[in-house]
């Protein structure tokens, strides 16, 4: 006995999730680009595109619910659907963080630059790599890779602390920079949260393959 129609639908929800991840990655990349280049149009585009990301989440959720209601998935099929449901929530929130960066880009567009952007783009690059890596680990059902990706979160956290310290120094030295520095701290915070949410995806990969929840992003505080 095979379940061709069911397997096709099960693949389709995973593909939807991967498409959504691609949309989020683009939003992160464009957010940083809009910030660096003061591109107001691009920032508006990101904000508009976030609605599409949100819609994709609900479409995928609907399809997952339909599969649960009509196909009674069990074992790894059930874990796949539950994982997709969780991951799409995380992706949607990552999209919101990218949208947050776009809004900051709009607020900073008319302000003189505080400093050259180095660490913040680096944070975005690592977070994006982590995101796409986590989805590849999902596709390949590779828990070892998922665990390895989580280790990269430490790099993002370290960059965040560095950015925070540096911007604090700016604010102490010159209170006129407080507003711009605060916006940039928000930007870094958005990226730090994106990387944290990637670790949630990695936890789901382990759940999907091994059937148990393993907390990978344990707070150091």
């Amino acid at each position: 006995m095979t379940r061709t129609a069911f397997e096709r639908q099960l693949l389709a929800v995973q593909e939807d999730m991967l498409v959504m991840a691609g949309m989020v990655e683009t939003a992160i990349e464009r957010g940083i680009e809009a910030l660096k280049t003061r591109n107001v149009n691009l920032a508006h585009q990101i904000i508009e595109d976030d609605l599409k990301i949100n819609r994709k989440r609900y479409e995928t959720e609907d399809k997952c619910l339909e599969l649960i209601a009509t196909q009674q998935p069990l074992a790894s099929d059930l874990r796949t659907i539950v994982s997709v449901l969780h991951i799409t929530v995380d992706l949607e929130r990552m999209g919101d963080h990218a949208e947050g960066i776009a809004k900051i880009a709009l607020m900073l567009a008319d302000e003189p630059p505080l400093k050259p952007y180095i660490d913040i783009p680096r944070m975005a690059q690592v977070a994006s790599e982590m995101l796409m890596g986590s989805l590849e680990a999902f596709k390949d059902r590779d828990p070892a890779r998922a665990r390895a990706i989580c280790d990269q979160d430490d790099e993002v956290d370290a960059l965040y602390e560095q950015v925070y310290r540096e911007l604090l120094t700016f604010m102490i030295n010159d209170p006129r920079t407080i507003q711009r520095a605060t916006y940039l701290i928000w930007t870094a915070h958005n990226l730090e949260r994106i990387a944290d949410r990637v670790t949630n995806i990695c936890e789901r990969v382990i759940y999907l393959v091994e059937g148990r929840i393993e907390e990978l992003n344990v707070s150091k505080y």
Partner: protein, 293 residues
Amino acid sequence: MRETTTPEHTALEDGAQPSVVSVGGLPYQPPHAAETAPTVLRLENVCVTYGGRPAVQNVAMDIYKNRITALIGPSGCGKSSLLRCMNRMNDLIHSARVTGNVYLDGVDINSDAVDPVQVRRHVGMVFQKPNPFPMSVMENVAFGPKRQGMSGRGRLNEIVEKALRSAALWDEVADKMDQPGTALSGGQQQRLCIARVLAVRPEIILMDEPCSSLDPVATLKIEDLMRELARDYTIVIVTHNMQQAARVSDYTAFMLASEHGVNGRLIEYGATNEIFTNPRDKRTEDYITGRFG
């Protein structure tokens, strides 16, 4: 039943955990390490053949008190044959030969010294198709107690009412006690058969696809009833309906046919929530996700 404990096996104490044994190369594992309920039925190295053809092979498992255990697997995998080993119903099949040990509260029910009728009083059975006797509702339920020598209208009425209430049927038949049992609906007939089993106060109730001839509403009523009955009884159910196994049982045993040309192997036995979300054996996974069977 009479005490016929074999010298090499003594009764399990309450709360005793089953030892880990390996039978026929299949590592036996307790289905749930955290289980605290005592074992009421222990199967060791149980094999069934029909005319020399194997149907159940080297099954070892423990059935826990007040738990519902479901046996699942594709057609012909030996689950009904295994169920029938639990109250010597295979004795009634001429070509069947059963070997191995089945300990009920520590007593091997396959021992020659044990009376199969007594075994079936302790281990009752409900069948796929409701099979009320061609007599009144009252007589159906009173049949067993009467056979056990119980008499007295008042006492019998009391037992019958209690059994019917336990089977969640009393309210529907209280004014139809003299009507033929066969006049009830399919779902009611099945609950009547359950009441008939309960009237002789068994320890264990075996159910062989008890809902396969019932509509969905009657099925859900039986499932609710099973959960109620599990407070006082131990239930073992054979079902083709995996969702039913998932809904009602505490433990699930997966059996497989045609593995290397032989039938009736126990592939995996574990807590139901584990079996249906994260089975350990790929063959279990393939079966419950509908990849074969």
